[in-house]
């Protein structure tokens, strides 16, 4: 069980927070707000799943926020033009895939460091979107919200879908060969290559997948309200990376899984509503989130030191 220490400890931390809320602010557990909270986080979970793969592969993608914004606006504009959802959702995913492929080209093809490549693409996409959209909201036709279903049904669909994706990826990464290859490449790319895996091709596809999932998440997000704001993806990359890291995925690659990321995401997403319910002032939010990230990482480091028995 030592192997899943991180995932377990994050889940326990989440449990503690939920317990505290149950005792001091039971109002948190009213069904509708809770469902709203979870539905709001469903797109983030999808993006986090993609990020897990990227980070296990020993890369990073800080452009997801901008990709998310671009895909949201694309989907929104298409829907506003009269495209049915069956068209605008795949379109959003295609745009995401394309942008992911751009990242993948630079990182896997030209072998440039992913943090710098995605930093550049993040800025280019963000400013490009600003230039074109000028911050104007996109109004969506009524049939888009909740896929045209009732609110409860729509929320159910989104949450169920996100969870299904989580399970699929979680199982896939262990059971399917391609999933195991990601771990292999993240642990030691050269050894993986010698074992017959093609690290660069795999890395490319991981980035394409990341982009596609960002596009999918964007589509999942726009069906939740009748307007799209171009700034919608602001801060998403930090949120997702923090969730993934807190959830036990090692930045050095080769370690971690989507379950931990799920727990990490829930933990960090609870901070804001928890503060509201406990009537704590809003200005503590960032400090608390930073502290959680550090605690998670420190705990990891301390444990590593103990098991390694010396300087790692």
């Amino acid at each position: 069980m030592n192997r899943y220490f991180r995932e377990i400890s994050v889940t326990m931390a989440l449990g503690v927070v939920l317990l505290v809320l149950a005792v001091f602010a039971p109002a948190f557990y009213s069904p509708q707000p809770l469902l709203s909270l979870v539905t709001r986080e469903a797109p983030t979970l999808v993006v986090a799943c993609g990020m897990v793969l990227v980070i296990i592969c020993r890369q990073i993608d800080i452009s997801v926020g901008s990709v998310f914004s671009v895909c949201s606006i694309c989907a929104g504009l298409l829907a506003a033009r009269g495209w049915p959802l069956a068209g605008s959702v795949p379109a959003a995913m295609a745009v995401g895939a394309l942008l992911g492929a751009c990242n993948g080209f630079f990182v896997a093809g030209l072998q440039l460091p992913s943090i710098v490549v995605t930093l550049a693409t993040m800025v280019i996409l963000r400013e490009g979107l600003n230039l074109l959209q000028q911050g104007a909201f996109v109004n969506l036709p009524d049939r888009v919200q909740w896929f045209g279903l009732s609110q409860a049904a729509g929320q159910g669909v989104l949450v169920a879908f996100a969870l299904a994706l989580l399970v699929a990826l979680g199982l896939g990464m262990r059971r399917i060969a391609a999933g195991r290859w990601v771990y292999a490449v993240g642990t030691d790319a050269e050894a993986a290559r010698l074992a017959g895996i093609r690290p660069r091709l795999l890395t490319f596809f991981v980035f394409v997948l990341m982009g596609t999932l960002a596009g999918l998440a964007a589509a999942m997000n726009i069906v939740q309200s009748p307007q799209v704001q171009p700034a919608v993806g602001t801060g998403l990359e930090l949120k997702v990376i923090a969730a993934v890291v807190v959830g036990g995925v090692a930045i050095s690659g080769g370690r971690g899984n989507v379950w931990g990321a799920f727990a990490g995401l829930l933990l960090l997403a609870c901070v804001s509503p928890a503060l509201t319910h406990l009537h704590v002032e809003a200005y503590w939010e960032k400090a608390i989130q930073g502290a959680i990230i550090l605690l998670a990482v420190v705990a990891d480091g301390v444990r590593q030191q103990k098991t390694a028995g010396g300087h790692p």
């Binding site: 602010a25 109002a27 948190f28 009213s30 509708q32 707000p33 809770l34 709203s36 909270l37 709001r40 400013e127 600003n130 959209q133 000028q134 911050g135 104007a136 909201f137 109004n139 609110q151 997000n221 309200s225 009748p226 307007q227 704001q229 171009p230 700034a231 919608v232 602001t234 801060g235 804001s272 509503p273 509201t276 319910h277 009537h279 809003a282 200005y283």
Partner: protein
């Protein structure tokens, strides 16, 4: 290799001498306008009015601003304009004191300075085109809330970021006005939305859940109002939890007609932009001088000047009866 570099550099130096700039002087007045942040629909509509005025007056309008609310960037842009030798600088300040430094510098260089929407320190500008005083806005919002809450009960405020200048000012006035005028009304929380509609929605959902007796949500930033309205709608509490806030008509029409949002307060932002450009042009041509009490602004008519504030008028309340008349 070093020799190549040397040759290359000397060629460039020669080019520098040859390529001296040669552009004829432009005889148009150059007026600049800076929003608090560019990606904000509020300021986009200000710009629409400003563009109209610029066309009517035959002046050149430069519109630039930080893409996110950032004090330092505003300073840098103002300083850029100083070295561009513009005639008038108009700006909506994100940081009163910080930006005043740069504005004073502009004035020293003979550039006229006007503020609009959010003021700087009085000595840093000639006039402030005020859509409504901060007290006017604060009191107006509280009065409207009181009307909808019958003067008692709990309400919460959703703001932009915790550091936003205008919002801090309004909150200050609200916090002093509230206990004096409506002692039975209680402000339970102020939550930031970072100017993101979706975050405002999440905050509103949590606020309603944490405060079951909440009667009203007040959003004092324009993306917050549709966000809060959507939250109330999704919580099924339309009518039970009232929503009011600052906002643009087009973003809120849907919710006002559905009865989710009761009133949206604003002012005609296009007129604000229009008035600002007219005032700026008049200032540059010395037609507008300190001590004036009235100011004619093209097609909008004459505006009152109180001290050094050019008043657009009172805050305007959009509700079901009138919101369809507006398109911005």
């Amino acid at each position: 290799m070093k020799l190549h570099a040397l040759r290359f550099l000397s060629t460039l130096a020669l080019l520098a001498v040859i390529l001296a700039p040669a552009r004829a002087a432009d005889s148009k007045l150059v007026i600049t306008m800076m929003p608090k942040a560019k990606g904000n629909a509020y300021f986009i509509s200000c710009k629409a009015g400003a563009d109209r005025a610029a066309k009517e007056l035959g002046v050149e309008l430069l519109f630039d601003g930080p893409t996110d609310s950032n004090a330092a960037k505003q300073n840098e842009i103002v300083e850029n304009w100083i070295t561009l030798g513009v005639d008038v600088i108009t700006v909506a300040t994100e940081n009163k004191e910080g930006l005043s430094t740069a504005l004073r510098k502009a004035q020293k260089q003979g550039i006229k300075v006007l503020t609009y929407d959010a003021d700087a320190l009085p000595d840093a500008r000639s006039f402030f085109v005020n859509q409504a005083t901060p007290e006017g806005i604060a009191h107006g919002m509280i009065d409207e809330a009181a009307r909808l809450m019958d003067g008692e009960g709990e309400f919460a405020i959703i703001t932009a970021t915790l550091t936003a200048g205008n919002q801090r000012e309004w909150l200050k006035h609200m916090e002093s006005y509230l206990p004096a005028k409506y002692p039975k009304m209680k402000l339970v929380a102020v939550r930031p939305s970072d100017d993101l509609k979706d975050k405002a929605q999440s905050e509103a959902t949590a606020l309603m859940s944490a405060n079951p007796n909440l009667k009203l949500l007040m959003a004092i930033c324009t993306p917050g109002t549709p966000g809060a309205a959507e939250a109330v709608k999704q919580a099924g509490k339309a009518g039970k939890v009232k929503v009011i806030g600052l906002g643009l008509p087009n973003e809120n029409k849907r919710y006002v007609h559905e009865g989710v949002t009761d009133s949206v307060m604003l002012w005609n932002t296009e007129d604000l932009g229009y008035l600002t450009v007219y005032a700026a042009a008049a200032l540059a041509k010395d037609e507008l001088k300190p001590g004036a009490t009235k100011f004619p602004a093209g097609k909008l008519g004459t505006f009152e000047i109180k001290g050094d504030n050019i008043l657009l008028g009172k805050p305007y309340i959009f509700n079901r009866t009138n919101i369809d008349r507006f398109d911005f």
